[in-house]
């Protein structure tokens, strides 16, 4: 692993994801810092409706995370829409954004979110999914060439994206 990178994490935050994504981000941050990386964490609000999810996707498109980070890790939908030349998308099975997109099938929001995710993934270096989120992405018809299914995306597989 390249030493002492600047790693930016953008993850969903809120009551619905606190015990899942929140704990994962805390462990991940601790692990990366223990490996001497400089880590900064941003928390974007988790949407509670498909309409809000679409608005948050638009918002993420407008946000600029700057050029200082060597890597951007996005955790949860619609954080993946953030732009960075070395982006790694982590799609956990507990991603409430994916569930909202599936529930909104056939709607305008559903189509736009699927398109936004497909674009976001096509512009990322790596997409890490677990078996649950892989099925969800299959339901949504979202494909990604860089998709990597890992049994435990908290582990060494992440390092592939950090090299």
């Amino acid at each position: 692993m390249k030493p002492a990178m600047k790693i930016l994490i953008a993850a969903l935050s809120g009551p619905a994801v606190q015990g899942t994504i929140g704990e994962f981000v805390a462990r991940l941050t601790e692990g990366l810092r223990a490996s001497d990386h400089q880590v900064d964490v941003f928390q974007l609000p988790a949407a509670q409706s498909a309409e809000a999810l679409l608005e948050h996707a638009y918002a993420a498109r407008f946000l600029d995370v700057g050029a200082e980070a060597d890597r951007l890790l996005t955790i949860g939908t619609a954080c993946h829409v953030l732009q960075h030349p070395a982006k790694i998308c982590v799609v956990p099975g507990c991603d409430s954004g994916l569930d909202l997109a599936i529930q909104a099938a056939e709607s305008r929001e559903h189509r736009y979110i699927c398109a936004a995710l497909a674009t976001a993934f096509s512009r990322s270096r790596l997409v890490l999914v677990d078996s649950t989120s892989k099925v969800a992405l299959g339901h949504l018809g979202v494909k990604a060439a860089s998709l990597l299914e890992v049994p435990n995306w908290e582990s060494e597989h992440l390092e592939r994206g950090l090299k």
Binding site: G14, P15, A46, H56, A60
Partner: protein, 347 residues
């Protein structure tokens, strides 16, 4: 209550607002609330970026919360029906810093358009808040002057007030602060050359550049006070700072015209130490009362040195003023309990 604390910041830039957002979220949880931190990335150059970030924040809605507490521009544009703003920063570049930014050049059309739109966005969306608190009278005055909006003052407490304690009153004046010319540590070193007692000075903090450290070192050598001035030009751990505070004779903090009171005086009072400051030091003057909780003197080395000598010769006065400082912080309710109560409207 389900509460979102909303902040914005430039990636990898970590300052007082970030620490305050973390501390507030933690304290809200301690008081039984289900609190979550939202932190939005922000870039403020070029001008168009500012407008894109306003738009991004405006697009986001917080649906799963009973209360939203934004702290800064542009995070306070997020949509929610029950927003209580604790204002730390507006986008000062279009307000009080505007003339300073264009002292040597003329604003371009994009700059003027940004100024107009930021002001319009503030005027339109800030009144959405059910209540606006400001972290200092300077922030509140600025909001009134440029946007015509009223804010109530809510002073931020020290992050971990429970950690501070009072020890014996020692033989040194302690100044914990970043080392730079506006903090004016050079005045304190100059003052040592005028002291007639064996009082010592301990300066501790991170220099803002190699020149700052060199400047102080050379001054100490030039004045021949190296046996009475201890210079620690580095980051000191919180535990070390707390111990140095607890055993000091007094604390000196003499910045030039600061906005807020800063944490130095608050921390000194939590350790029951008197504070020496200057008449032109700004926000700290709401905490330091001359002859009661410390000394407020002219920014002249002789006067500062004389204040050092007086406390050295009279430990009982140092103790009385330090205790009065502690009482003052209590009476002003600069506590997390008060912050949580007022922000959540629970009493």
């Amino acid at each position: 209550m389900k509460i979102a604390v909303v902040n914005s910041g430039v990636p990898f830039v970590w300052g007082g607002a970030e620490h305050l957002a973390d501390a507030l979220t933690r304290r809200l949880r301690e008081f039984g609330h289900d609190a979550h931190l939202i932190r939005i990335p922000f870039q403020w150059a070029p001008s168009q970026e500012v407008l894109r970030h306003i738009l991004a924040c405006r697009l986001m809605r917080l649906e799963d919360y009973d209360l939203v507490i934004p702290l800064k521009f542009p995070a306070y544009f997020l949509r929610h029906d029950n927003k209580v703003l604790w204002l730390l920063h507006q986008f000062r570049q279009v307000y009080d810093l505007w003339d300073l930014s264009f002292r040597d050049s003329h604003p371009k059309r994009d700059d003027l358009e940004m100024k107009r739109l930021v002001t319009q966005a503030d005027n339109t969306y800030l009144p959405e808040a059910k209540k606006i608190y400001a972290n200092s009278h300077v922030t509140a005055d600025r909001l009134k002057q440029f946007n015509g909006l009223d804010a109530e003052i809510l002073y931020p407490p020290v992050f971990e007030p429970e950690s501070f304690y009072a020890g014996d009153y020692g033989d040194y004046i302690f100044c914990p602060s970043r080392i730079n010319s506006t903090k004016r540590q050079q005045l304190l070193v100059d003052a040592m050359a005028h002291c007639r007692t064996p009082v010592r000075l301990v300066l501790a903090g991170v220099p803002e550049g190699p020149d700052e450290e060199k400047r102080i070192r050379e001054q100490i050598a030039r004045l021949g006070v190296s046996n009475r001035v201890e210079f620690l030009p580095r980051f000191i751990l919180e535990a070390q700072k707390i111990e140095l505070l607890a055993k000091a004779l007094a604390v000196a903090y003499v910045p030039y015209d600061e906005d807020s009171y800063g944490y130095v005086a608050l921390e000194a009072y939590l350790a029951r130490r008197p504070v020496i400051t200057c008449k032109d030091s700004g926000g700290i003057l709401i905490l330091v009362k001359d002859g009661e909780t410390g000394r407020v003197v002219e920014p002249i080395p002789q006067e500062i040195g004389s204040a050092f000598d007086r406390l050295y010769g009279n430990r009982n006065e140092a103790r009385a003023q330090g205790n009065a400082g502690w009482d003052l912080v209590e009476s002003m309710e600069i506590t997390w309990e008060n912050v949580v109560r007022r922000l959540t409207g629970s009493g």
